[in-house]
């Protein structure tokens, strides 16, 4: 228990960010028309690919001189995350492009 409290204190800023971001996320989304549910879900999905930063840090500081399991898995983590990010944003843009076309 004490360790959890210590952890809370160490990371208190981040935990504050989380608590407030939850409300921010809810507030930002809550009035979205159902027309946009699919693109929004897809766009949010692309943002969750932010794990790509973790992959870069991981591979960035691992030993690149030999081909270890860690390195290979790390590379896969980056590839997967990139798929999520690039694919997600491109697909969202494709969907939204169709709505745009209609307005003219």
């Amino acid at each position: 228990m004490e360790q959890i409290l210590v952890y809370f204190f160490t990371y208190k800023e981040a935990i504050f960010i989380i608590a407030l971001s939850v409300f921010l996320g809810i507030e930002v989304i809550s009035h979205v028309p159902s027309v946009l549910h699919t693109p929004l879900m897809s766009g949010a999905n692309a943002i969750s690919g932010v794990i790509i930063i973790g992959g870069i840090i991981l591979v960035g500081h691992s030993d690149a001189s030999k081909l270890s399991l860690e390195l290979v898995l790390g590379i896969f983590a980056i590839i997967f995350a990139t798929l999520n990010v690039v694919g997600g944003f491109v697909v969202t843009d494709r969907m939204l492009e169709m709505f745009k076309k209609k307005k003219k």
Binding site: I29, S42, A44, G54, G74, I78, F80, L96
Partner: protein, 480 residues
């Protein structure tokens, strides 16, 4: 960049490190603004580009400026490897995104969500050996990243398979207990890892076991959920991926990851709840009380026959109507019939018929799925009506044409309190003067219940693939 520009609580910080954090702040702001813009039709596309720019910025600055605990930057050899991985992922992702058909969008989103979850799980798995075992919090976030990431991965893959028709619904009453058991195992292993006091090397077996059980749980959790509940599950899995990214963000104390992840987590959760509300069901009900299959009661059996209509009768009926409402459903998407549908709508409009579309919030396999499809087929935005705005007009409608939709027009939701979809808001197709239903066969809808609308005295059926039927109907009307 390595120049020390200040000191905080005894630790020097450099210009580069400060710029990196600043870029993360900027990226986080871009995410928030992006999401905000994404939720309005006029600004949605700009919002997507904002969010993508934020991501691009964070990737570049991390590559250039990130330092490990010893102050070493990312060596050129590693940068080379990372750029290679980024390149491979970008090319594959881009090609897939451009090739995918609009009808297959839900499974595409599921697939990307799976890759995001997999990345989180891998990062957590690989960082576990570096976890400080004396710090329970640090072990906890690593475990949570691994567990949530794996569940999001395997769950999304199953969802992808189901939406793509590769995996069927498997449901048995036992699954509920198996799932609870698996969850307990996950918790037990996690507690063991956190409290055993052993080194990460000694606990290697436990972490891989945890990975395996989490993956199995993801599969088992999504397997029994089917049909109309699929959108809810995708949205839920989406928010799980966000939370997994946040946990991984804690491992690196990286604000961009923490904020980006939790934003998606919160937005995904609220979106999930909005969808549940649209179906008048609780989230718990969706997860535990799987719809369809053998789980729910099948409603009362119908007496009477489904009455078919010939192509020529249907075309005459439609041509001489004043107002026609089209109710599209998943069948339209499966048959890729959106263009044929628009053709029919154009030809009828040309004859002076008022053609409108009634879009149920959960029609298709994803909320807004129908809007995307019809937009692809160039159906004007102002012809699409949401359920609540078109329902009052139903009694004045001459013909309602239900194309590949079923549960969203099932009056049992209103009339039969014992029905599994009782209370779900529906499009009141049964109130129209005439109803034409296009169906592939005599089978039941996704919820596995009989639809009394199809047996209604005012209802006529056109069996067959929606695209062929619509094309035939168009040529029939042309030849009138």
């Amino acid at each position: 960049m390595d120049q020390v520009i200040g000191n905080l609580n005894g630790t020097d910080f450099t210009l580069g490190g400060t710029l990196l954090e600043l870029s993360y702040l900027l990226a986080a702001l871009f995410f928030v603004i992006g999401l905000k813009l994404l939720s309005h039709p006029e600004t949605a596309r700009k919002g997507n580009i904002y969010a993508a720019s934020g991501m691009f910025l964070a990737i570049i600055t991390t590559l250039l400026l990130h330092k490990n605990a010893q102050g070493g930057g990312i060596p050129p050899a590693n940068i080379f490897i990372i750029l290679g991985a980024l390149g491979v992922g970008s090319v594959i992702g881009w090609i897939m995104a451009l090739r995918i058909k609009m009808t297959a969008m839900p499974q595409m989103v599921s697939f990307y969500n799976a890759t995001g979850g997999a990345a989180s799980a891998l990062v957590a798995l690989l960082e576990f050996p570096n976890a400080d075992m004396n710090n329970m919090g640090s072990v906890l976030v690593t475990i949570l990243g691994l567990v949530i990431g794996s569940i999001a991965f395997s769950g999304s893959m199953v969802a992808y398979g189901k939406l793509d028709g590769k995996v069927g619904d498997i449901f048995s009453g036992m699954m509920k207990y198996v799932n609870i058991f698996l969850l307990l195992v996950v918790v037990a292993i996690s507690v063991f890892i956190m409290t055993s006091g052993q080194t990460p090397e000694q606990l290697n077996w436990a972490i891989y076991l945890l990975l395996a059980v989490s993956l199995i749980y993801g599969v088992m959790f999504v397997m029994p959920i089917g049909g109309a509940d699929m959108p809810v599950v995708i949205s839920l899995l989406n928010s799980l991926t966000g939370i997994a990214a946040t946990m991984a963000g804690f491992i690196y104390n990286n604000q961009a990851m923490i904020l980006g992840g939790i934003l998606v987590g919160a937005a995904g959760t609220i979106l999930t709840i909005l969808m549940c509300n649209a179906m008048n069901r609780s989230l718990l009900n969706v997860i535990i009380g799987a719809f369809g299959g053998g789980g729910a009661s099948s409603g009362k059996d119908q007496v009477g026959d489904m009455k078919e209509i010939t192509m020529s009768d249907a075309s005459i009926l439609l041509s001489y109507s004043k107002s026609v409402v089209i109710v599209p459903g998943y069948g339209l998407a499966v048959a890729q019939a959106q263009h044929a549908c628009h053709e029919l709508d154009v030809i009828l409009s040309g004859k002076g018929v008022n053609v409108r579309y009634a879009i149920h919030p959960v029609a298709g396999r994803m909320p807004g799925h129908m809007n995307v499809l019809l937009a692809e087929a160039d159906v004007p935005y102002n012809q699409l009506f949401e359920m609540d705005s078109i329902n009052p007009d139903m009694p004045n409608t001459d013909v309602v044409m239900v194309i590949g939709a079923n549960d969203v027009v099932n009056p049992a939701a209103i009339t039969d309190p014992g029905s599994p979809i009782a209370g779900m808001p529906i499009i009141n197709a049964h109130l129209a003067k005439n109803i034409i239903v296009m169906k592939r066969g005599r089978g039941r809808g996704y919820a596995g219940i009989e639809n009394e609308l199809f047996f209604d005295a005012k209802t006529r059926l056109l069996f067959g693939d929606a695209k062929n039927t619509l094309q035939n109907l168009v040529s029939e009307i042309k030849s009138l």
